[in-house]
Symmetry: C2
Subunit: 260 residues, 2 copies
């Protein structure tokens, strides 16, 4: 199974051009699953909820239509982040495949000023069984909470698709820990570039990567340029939770000792 991370450099507010740029990158490689960044179509640094609302789309909006067409035409799967206009405004990710929408996720742990713009996710951490693997999603800051990846692993996730707009430096290394402690694959698709708006100057760190259940960094992109990379992976490796003859990672959990 070929897993692609797509690292973009979106222009704020230019959804149509940003989607086109992403599709160009995607078309340059062959993969079974493409992971795009958080809010890849709109950009990130909204002045307020009203601006985000204006740039948001319903689940079946033009961004979905473009990516679903790519997925259908080439028989691929795509995970991408977007501002979802639903019952509330959500920082969402969607998984689309050859037959259309497979499922969506709404960011559970909102970061910083996102709390002023979006409603917190209300769908938990769903997992979707597809022909290319059991896929779960988390978005950017969700990495900080070990419960995100753990919950996905407990539900049988083989590949964590992780759209991101990282501005802090820690996640690329922490993702290694997330994969080790859950024995899953994870793919962070981060963006690069800068958005200096309304007195908030944000630089995005790139470093998109794919990490294996053994904590190996299979590929990591740079910190300044858009790009795409493909890793050949075997999702079933995530089903083997044995660490040695005497330790099974998940069966060895001691829930009697944990505080939730």
């Amino acid at each position: 199974m070929r897993l692609a991370i797509v690292q973009t450099s979106p222009v704020f507010g230019e959804a149509s051009a940003n989607v086109k740029a992403a599709l160009n990158l995607m078309s340059s490689v062959e993969a079974d699953l493409y992971v795009l960044p958080e809010l890849f179509n709109t950009g990130y640094n909204f002045l307020d909820g009203r601006e985000a609302e204006a740039l948001s789309e319903p689940m079946d909006g033009p961004t979905f239509v473009s990516l679903a067409e790519f997925a259908r035409e080439y028989g691929r799967y795509v995970v991408y982040g977007f501002a979802e206009r639903g019952p509330n405004l959500y920082n969402s990710a969607a998984l689309v495949g050859p037959s259309g929408l497979v499922g969506r996720y709404r960011k559970v742990h909102l970061f910083d000023r996102e709390n002023l713009v979006f409603a917190p996710g209300d769908l938990g951490f769903p997992v979707f069984d597809t022909p290319v693997g059991r896929i779960g999603m988390m978005i950017c800051f969700d990495w900080m909470y070990p419960e995100s990846a753990r919950t996905l692993a407990l539900k049988g996730t083989q590949i964590i698709a992780h759209p991101a707009n990282l501005v802090m430096p820690h996640c690329p290394d922490a993702l290694v820990t997330r994969c080790l402690e859950n024995r899953v694959f994870a793919a962070t698709a981060n963006r690069v570039g800068r958005e200096d708006r309304g007195g908030h100057d944000l630089r995005f760190i790139g470093d998109s990567e794919v990490v294996s259940p053994r904590g190996e960094i299979l590929v990591r992109l740079g910190d300044s340029d858009a790009g795409v990379a493909v890793s050949e992976i075997e999702p079933a490796l995530s089903d083997d939770k044995r660490i040695n003859d005497h330790n099974d990672l998940l069966r060895g959990r001691r829930t009697d000792c944990y505080e939730l």
Copy 2:
């Protein structure tokens, strides 16, 4: 508050000499809390439960007596790992202070052949309030389970004392994630050296370290020599869980979305 990590190179089965060597290292620096490795007095690579039983000590055995004397004489606190002869045989850690035993912890997640030798810990993850900070303990492989450090953090731990006998390479970097995701200090005291016994050849990786709530590695020792290092820390920094104006780390947990 001065936090010392003591990295030892014990000789298997020579408890008296190993305790003396550790005390020599400890006496070479001034600190308020000294953290020693897992099973620092006996060594690690037991052939079987009978050998471990023979080398084990009750809580108030000679190792405790020596360290409690050090703690009383100099007004210090010490965390150390030892094979505890109790209702069962445990891979334990004890916290001793100027007035004697403060509390103990029994390793919850046993690693590899330890499962043949020790009973799993039955005391949960207790936290002890002392004049030098609120101290919790985890032992070696407990690091692999994010629930260990999380449980300690939820119970108010400021400093995780982490006696270890690490043979895998991942923990020193993963500890940075543990500190970031919980905003606590952590001190891994690991050992160096090699134990080739009964067909099991183990090399211990050293790299003892102190990490801050911001994920800074305040000090890290080497991978081959015994040694000691002291970090000046402010335990109260662990009480500040604010990440920014809109995120409080622990209050931001979404237990409604987590699987235990």
